[in-house]
Each structure stands twice: as C-alpha cells, then as structure tokens.
C-alpha cells in the first residue's frame, strides 16, 4: 500500500472479485478499513523500504490476505506430505496417526483456499525443504513446530487486515486448529511446552506477525518469489 488511490483500487478489486454481502456492518467495515489504510500509508511512508514489485503477486485487499494464507498452507501441507513419503525412524503409532491428521488438516486448508480463491488463486509454489532432515525426528518436529507457531502468529496478525467478517471467522476457524497442532508438536518435543514463554508474551497472549515478518521467515522454504507489496497493512 504505497499510494492513497490504491485504496480505491482495493475497493474496486473487492467488489469485482468476490460476492459481497453488503450488510451495514460490512459496509462500515469497508469504510473503516479504507480510512485506516490512508492513515497508515501516510504515516508509515517515510520509513518504509521500497517494496519489490516482481514475483508472484499475492494481490490486494481480502483476496491478497487469502492468497497469503494459501501460500502458508501450501508450505505446511507440502511439508507434512513429504514427512509421510518416508517417516522418520522411531515414529510411534500415536505420532504416525496424529501427524497424519495434521497433514490432512493442512491439505484441507490448502485446498479450501484454492477453491475459495478460484481464478484469483496464486499458482502452486515451488518449495525447498532441503534444510530439513526428514529421517530425523528432531529435525522434522523442530520444523513442524516452527511452521505451526509461525502459522498462529501469521493468522493472528492477518485478522485485522481482513475486511469481510466472514473471512475473519474463517481465519479464526483455522488458526485455533494451527494452535492445537503447535501445542501438540511442542509437547512431543518437550512435554509441557505447549504454551511456554517462547510462544507467549508476559500477558499470556500469543503473538501476531505482519505478512512481511512471516514471509521473511517462511522465505527459507519458498523458491518462488512472492510479491506481498499490495497486501493491506491495516
């Protein structure tokens, strides 16, 4: 979001790309979101680094945020799919069953976004998991923990970027499942670490990350260049 007139573009994109229930609440949500965008764009312009405009464009508005979530779910689903191409040595029956559940959940999330986005969906990303040793329990669970905790902070940070209350609810339906995964994986690594102070702040709250922060971390695993510069920032 670099220019004020992009707000109008977002509104145009939104109205042309998805069916909208223009209830009073949604309409007020649009107006509130738009003015917040103008304010943030102006107040942050001076210290923002120039954003890249090349690569796969996630898009703007709610569509952009959904594509952002779709990108993250692609990473998670591909990771767990690869885990099951050859499971790590010493995997227990319980781990096998529950990690299999998680794989299926992530595939369901990925395919949900793909279908929901339809023609606006970004393509399948090229991923690189070469830093993960899939034969090692420690390596696999360490990566799983990182992905799940990252997913929680990503969805928590994305909530405020959404204009549609329906999409916000959908993101909420997914993030709590990611948090259940994160807690389970953490407990597999070290029982009792499901919500320790490496995940939570002093108020007992999970953290929220911006798309830029999340994509910088996830970038290790994504070969496809992503352009998140049109995502909303507020």
């Amino acid at each position: 979001m670099k220019e004020k007139d992009s707000v109008n573009q977002i509104l145009l994109n939104e109205t042309s790309k998805k069916p909208i229930d223009v209830s009073r609440r949604n309409f007020l949500g649009y107006i509130g979101g738009a003015s917040a965008l103008i304010l943030t764009a102006a107040a942050c312009k001076k210290d923002d680094a120039p954003a890249s405009n090349s690569g796969v464009n996630l898009g703007s508005g709610d569509v952009g945020v959904l594509n952002y979530a779709y990108a993250l779910e692609q990473i998670e689903a591909a990771f767990y799919t690869k885990v099951f191409q050859s499971v790590y040595s010493g995997i227990t029956a319980s781990e096998n069953a529950l990690l299999g559940d998680i794989r299926d959940h992530e595939i369901a999330h990925r395919e949900f976004f793909k279908n929901a986005l339809g023609a606006s969906a970004i393509p399948t990303l090229e991923l690189d998991f070469s830093t993960i040793n899939f034969g090692s329990r420690d390596s696999v669970l360490g990566a799983a923990k990182a992905f799940e905790d990252l997913g929680v902070t990503a969805y928590n940070g994305a909530g405020k970027l959404l204009v549609s209350a329906d999409y916000l609810t959908l993101a909420g339906k997914i993030v709590s499942v990611e948090a259940r995964h994160a807690a389970y994986i953490r407990d597999l690594i070290s029982n009792g670490s499901f919500a320790d102070n490496t995940a939570l702040d002093a108020n007992g709250l999970d953290m929220a990350r911006t798309p830029a922060e999340v994509l910088a971390i996830a970038g290790t695993y994504v070969k496809t260049k992503l352009n998140a510069s049109n995502l909303p920032t507020n």
């Binding site: 304010l39 102006a42 395919e111 997914i174 499901f194 007992g204």
Partner: protein, 275 residues
Amino acid sequence: MNINSIISEIEKVDPELYEKLDGRRAAMKSFARFSGKVAVAALPFALGTMFNKAYGQTPSSTVIDVLNFALTLEYIESNFYIKGLASSGLVPSGPGMNALMTIRDHEAAHVNFLRTAITASGGTPVTFTASQFDFTAKGTFPDVFSNYDTFLAVAQAFEDTGVRAYKGQAPNLISNNDVLTAALNIHSVEARHASHVRQMRKARGADVKPWITGNINGIGAVANGNYAGEEITTQAGINLVNVNGFTISAAAASEAFDEPLTKDQVVALVTPFFA
C-alpha cells in the same frame, strides 16, 4: 513510525485535530498520562482511547461488551484452575500439575490484561469472586474437585468452549484492530490449552485427540451443547471431504476447522457454573 508522525499525518487530513485534542501539547500530555497509567502491553488501547476522544467516538459499547464477556469467561477459567489446584489430593504432582499451573497463570494473566484493556478503553470491567461460582454446575459434576478425570473433562469443555466463544466474537471487533488482534492472541492460547488438556485426558484413557473430531466430546451427553456444530465438513460452500481428489475423511475435514458459538449459546452453557 511514531506517535508524532501519526499525529502530523492526521493533521494533514484533519486540520482541526488539535482543536479536538486541545492542542498538540495537550495531546502528548494526554498520551503520556495514559501510558504512565497502563501496562506497556496495553499501550495500543490507550492510543485508541485518545483518538476516540478526539473524534467523539467513545469506544463502541459493542467492543466493551465483548471484552467484558471475554473477561467473564476468563474469570470462570481462572477460578476453576485456582480452586482445582488448591484442592488437596486432586491433582497429582508431576507434569500434569505443572501444566495446570501454567494454564491457571495464563487465565489469571488474561483477567488482568482484559481488565486493563477495558479500563483503558473507557469501560468498566466486571468483577467476579470465587464464591460466585459453582463448578459442580448445580450438581452435574459433583466430584469435579475430588475426581481428577472429572476435573480434566470440565477443563477440556471450558477450553474448547472458550475457543469457540472468542471465535464467535471476532466479527464484533472487526472495526477495532488493536482489540481484535489482542482477542485473537488470547483465542489461540485457549486452543493451545485445549490441545494439552486433551492430551492429558488421552494419556488417562479418554478417547480424544488434541483436536475436535466431529461433535464427539469424550465427556458425555452433558457436554453435547459445547460441541454442537463442530461436526460440519463444508466451509463457505466448499465440501472438504475428499476435496479436489485428496483423501480427506469426514473426521479430518471436521477437525481442520473449529467452529464459533454465539454469545447466547456460550452464556447458556456457562450459566450453570454460576452459584
């Protein structure tokens, strides 16, 4: 980006800002006064309050109502774990006790956080004390503080229901980014708790997973209402069973998405726990 930069930019859009704030100095003083009073973590709320004042929009009663609703639920959970951990012979020492102490402390921190946020937003936080609760739920769980399995079953119901309650309120906070984000950041912690409590129950023989399968609760018919609706496998019109040719069972499709509850539904579920 800092507070001065934000105020400068608003001034360009709204030259009368300072009149509304009684001058920049007053604005900064007002901000300093707020930040002196409230915890650092609650600063966004203080900022929101200042601008709400300038523009004559007291934080909507909807937002305050949601925060007080959340606070009520956190009081229930907090008092539940405090009493459970104080009940001699109930919780065996070891990892389980440590986990429950962690959860207890989070719920107490949530109470404090929400009270601070409500006050900073110009609202009045509700207050509850231990004697106002009846965790037997009018006799439904008579051994809740003497039978560890009953205690964990009720804990699971509280955590899973808490997740559903926060989720249901998110749309009511959509116009307030700071409060929405804070609520989401609590929502996912309740889900972490639910996951762990479910693992504790599983280790003691209950047939549950860290996630919610269908509307099965592993507690009994008494908890059916807490899980009603969790069984759905279609989201936004998209059927997720075997979606796009992938083998996804109905169980996995239901587990992949947690479902919200309305405030009325949650109130009905927790009312028996008040004395």
